[in-house]
Every structure is written in structure tokens, then in C-alpha cells.
Amino acid sequence: MIKELICIVCPKGCHLKVDTHNEYKVSGNQCQRGIDYGVVELTNPTRVVTSTIRIKGGIHKRVPVKTNGAIPKTLNFECMKIINSLEVEAPVKVGQIISKNILGTNIDLVITRDM
């Protein structure tokens, strides 16, 4: 069965066709990452989660964070629950790990700017 999806790896948004009955063969991609995306998206879709956490003593009330890699899409809201329970104190640095191995994904939650 040919599934059609739009690649979201880069802003090009290539229209992919993935043959789920033929080893998930991908066509319509303009780079290798598109092939990887096509397969992953139909077998175990993942997303990078970006949000903010509370910060004390910073120039703003919130400091932005991200998962340092894509986690299974189904864990997005669980991840948000963890993010919303966290708080830091300034100063913090870009890349600082705020929560290691989030939800057993081997991916860390990191701060995305100095504050």
C-alpha cells in the first residue's frame, strides 16, 4: 500500500510516497534524510518537543527548552507534564541539561539560551 506524506525534516516539504508492502521503499525525497523520515514516520513517528520552563532571577520569567532529539510522538503530552514541573535559577547556559533521559528515551531536555 502506498502511503503519501509530506516530509517535515526541512522546510522543502517534499511529497513522499512510501510503499508499506514493499520494505517501506520511499520515493519523492530530495535527500537521504527524507528516506529515513518516511520510514520512521510510518513505523514509529517521533517529534522534538520545544517549550519553556520557569526561571528565577532571569531577564525573563521563562527560559526556553527543547528535547535534544526527537522522542516518540505519543509521549509529547507526558513530556509537557515533566517540563511544567521544572524550575531553574539563573544563570543558566545554552545546552545545559535540565532533565536527563526524559521518559526513558535516552534523550535529554536542554536549555536553549543563556539567561
Partner: protein, 422 residues
């Protein structure tokens, strides 16, 4: 106070321009920023997708900004925060104000305009109905949520399917709000396709194309928003009305380049972009005043802003160092048949290095078309373009050799399908 180059705006455009001016050999540079920190709009764009071209990495807005801010600081380039530019004259005198230095007059040999853009408001598009609280432009809501720490609402409707509207649909959903729908006037979305997937499809938020808002009800806070489908003339169709029970309405209905200062110096604007007309060096109609980034035309990718702004900074520096060819006649770049505008709008071929980077947008969605560059009766270049859309700015590098072949003092850029113009 005197500086060789003053950059107005410390966002991605201003930062890239200042750094490049410094690298080109002009060290006496000042960046003036009205906010309390550098980084511009990137500081509130906490989502990722930035830097794929520039750094070959996928960064969030703040991460992208920090790379440039660190470089600027390392180079020792002067900057002033919380400082508003009140006035700018043709002879490059700037008047500014802040609460530390007070009122200041600064003279510059060259200026780079990098003020970015502002959001179109409810009043500007005359949405009818009550005027309760709870109606925000999407960018204002983004700032409130991501930096000030306010949750702006719980039951949301979003008007406009441009990137800001789509990104906020996701943001609000992740923070626990219920986004009932994204409503779009046109029959297609103005945002990047990847955002439709990541922000709407992922959360099953409906995208209602060819619809608009016809009424808002609410005493002190928004209570109901009514939409209707529109016909080809964008007029509401009777009988298609739908009412949503919401407490918040976000408006993502367009960005407008911030050219108040530009007009004060009598600089010519391009009606199609709402930004200054610029040449190959990103110089405006006033000699020595350059411009780059969203103030010239609204961009989709910050990577393109950085590339464009480096050109502005480099050439502002070259002008100060007397290395810019200012004598030559202009070759006009004409946007035709399907191409809405190009930046730059004119070229002095003598200032082009190996190729000229031209940004442009198309009028409509085109599939399997060709981008064609002509001069006189000759077709100079034809490139296959499987997918072109108004919401996706395109770039083309025109080789110097091709520019030198141009006749009639103009080259024309247009869209063709199967050999015929659109």
C-alpha cells in the same frame, strides 16, 4: 556622537550585518536595539527549524540568535539596548533616546536599516463585532506565553494559517489549551507545509480554508466567534455560518515591514513588498542607507535573512572604505507573469562578485512550472520548479556572466508552463 556604521535593529538581520561590516574592515560600528536584549524576534521563537542552511543544524530561535550575539560580543562591536531611534535624516543623522544616555544625536557614514516588521491588527482588517478582551495578534500571544509567562487563553480560535498562526496552534495545545480551528481566508495556507503537518495534523486541529470571521461576541471577554465560508470574491456565503465557543482569538493576518524611519528619510518604498527598493548592495534610494531582513520584505527563513544581511553589512562597509562602485547605470530586474516581486529590484553589474542572489515570491501556487529569466528576446535561463507557492520565498543565483549578456537595461523574471507565460 559619530560612528562609521550604525545598524538600527539588533535582531538576526542587524546582527549579521554588523558582524559582516566588522569583518569587511569597518570596526567603528554601533547596533541600536529597542528591546532589553539582542536577538530580536528569535528570542520568542522557541520552536526549532532554524539554521538548516546557515549551520546545517536544526536550532531553535534563541539558539540561532545566541550564535550571532556571541560573535558580536567577541568582536567587541558596540551596542545599545532599550534605545529607540526617533528620527533619521537623509544625511544620515540619527536621533535616539533611552533612560541611561537620554537624548542622543548620532552621525553615521552609513546606516543599515534592520527594524524588522510588525503584525497586522484586527482594526486594520476591520473584523466586525464586539471589542472584548481576549483578542491578540499571534506574535503578541507568543511573547506573552514564551517570555512573560502568561497563558493567554484556554479555548482558542486562530485566524490566518501563516506560520505564526500554525506555530501558536501547536504551542497553545501543548500548554493545555483547546484550539478549535485555524481559519484561513484563502483557498490555500500561507505557511510552510511542514508546519501544517507538525502543528495541525499532529493535534487534529481542523484547517478551514476559504473561511473568514463575520462576527465576534463578548462583553468583557470573547465568548463566541462566528465564521462563514467565502466565495471567489472573498464574500461570505449565506447559510455557511458556524459559531465557536471560545475565550481567545489569535490573529495571524500578515506582517508589515516597519518602515516609519525609512519614510522619514524620504527613501523610496516598493508597494509590492512595503519595504525600501534596494540594489544589488542592499542599498536604498538614499546613498549610504542600506536595509536588510524583514524591513525590506517579509522572510520565511531566518537563514535567508542572515545571507541577505551579510550583503548589506559588507557593502555598507565597502561604501565607507570607498570600495563600492557608485557610478554605474542600473540594470532593472522586472518581475512578470506569476512573479510578484524580486529583491533586489535593480543591479549595478560592476558590484556583483560571481553571482547575484535574487529573492522572489510568486503570485499563486504553481506545480511543474519553469522559472525563466529573459532579456530582450533572449531566454537566459530556465529552471524546472516542481512546486512554487506564495508562502515560500525562493532564491535564485544569477551568474555574473548572464547579467553581462543582458540587453535593454533590464532582465525579466517570470513563470512559464509548457513554454507559455502564466
Amino acid at each position: 556622537m559619530k560612528y562609521d556604521i550604525v545598524v538600527i535593529g539588533g535582531g538576526p538581520a542587524g546582527l549579521a550585518a554588523a558582524i559582516e561590516a566588522h569583518k569587511t574592515g569597518v570596526k567603528n560600528v554601533l547596533v541600536i536595539e529597542r528591546d532589553k536584549e539582542l536577538g530580536g524576534i528569535l528570542q520568542q521563537c522557541i520552536h526549532n527549524g532554524f539554521g538548516l542552511h546557515e549551520f546545517k543544524e536544526e536550532l531553535t530561535g534563541p539558539e540561532y540568535a545566541q550564535r550571532f550575539i556571541e560573535q558580536l560580543k567577541e568582536m567587541g562591536i558596540d551596542y545599545k539596548l532599550d534605545t529607540m531611534v526617533l528620527n533619521m535624516t537623509k544625511d544620515k543623522k540619527i536621533q535616539t533616546i533611552n533612560s541611561v544616555d537620554g537624548f542622543m544625536e548620532i552621525e553615521a557614514k552609513a546606516i543599515v536599516l534592520a527594524m524588522g516588521c510588525r503584525e497586522r491588527t484586527r482594526g486594520a482588517i476591520s473584523i466586525p463585532g464586539d471589542r472584548p478582551a481576549g483578542i491578540f495578534t499571534a506574535g503578541a500571544a507568543q511573547r506573552f506565553i514564551n517570555m512573560e509567562g502568561y497563558m493567554v487563553g484556554k479555548k482558542v480560535l486562530i485566524l490566518g494559517s501563516g506560520d505564526i498562526g500554525l506555530i501558536m496552534a501547536r504551542r497553545m495545545t501543548l500548554e493545555g489549551a483547546e484550539v478549535k480551528a485555524v481559519v484561513e481566508l484563502l483557498p490555500y495556507s500561507g505557511g510552510l507545509t511542514r508546519n501544517i503537518v507538525q502543528c495541525l495534523d499532529d493535534y487534529e486541529i481542523p484547517l478551514l480554508l476559504s473561511h473568514t470571521i463575520i462576527d465576534i461576541k463578548g462583553k468583557e471577554r470573547v465568548e463566541e466567534v462566528t465564521i462563514a465560508q467565502v466565495d471567489e470574491r472573498r464574500k461570505p456565503i449565506k447559510g455557511t455560518e458556524r459559531t465557536f465557543d471560545v475565550d481567545t482569538l489569535l490573529l495571524s493576518v500578515g506582517l508589515i515591514p516597519e518602515n516609519e524611519l525609512t519614510l522619514k528619510a524620504d527613501i523610496d518604498l516598493d508597494q509590492r513588498t512595503a519595504g525600501p527598493i534596494v540594489n544589488e548592495s542592499m542599498e536604498t534610494s538614499v546613498s549610504g542607507i542600506f536595509a536588510c531582513g524583514n524591513v525590506v520584505h517579509v522572510h520565511d527563513l531566518v537563514d535567508f535573512v542572515s545571507a541577505e544581511s551579510r550583503r548589506a553589512g559588507k557593502n555598507a562597509a565597502k561604501l565607507v572604505l570607498n570600495q563600492l562602485n557608485t557610478e554605474e547605470e542600473y540594470l532593472r530586474i522586472k518581475a512578470e507573469s506569476g512573479v510578484r516581486y524580486t529583491v533586489p529590484q535593480k543591479v549595478r553589474v560592476g558590484n556583483v562578485d560571481r553571482f547575484l542572489e535574487v529573492f522572489f515570491r510568486v503570485q499563486d501556487v504553481y506545480r511543474d512550472a519553469n522559472l525563466v529569466i529573459k532579456s530582450g528576446n533572449e531566454k537566459l535561463l530556465s529552471i524546472k520548479k516542481p512546486h512554487l507557492a506564495p508562502g515560500e520565498m525562493e532564491k535564485i543565483n544569477i551568474p555574473l556572466s548572464m547579467l553581462e549578456k543582458a540587453q535593454d537595461t533590464e532582465i525579466r523574471i517570470c513563470i512559464e508552463k509548457e513554454g507559455e507565460v502564466i
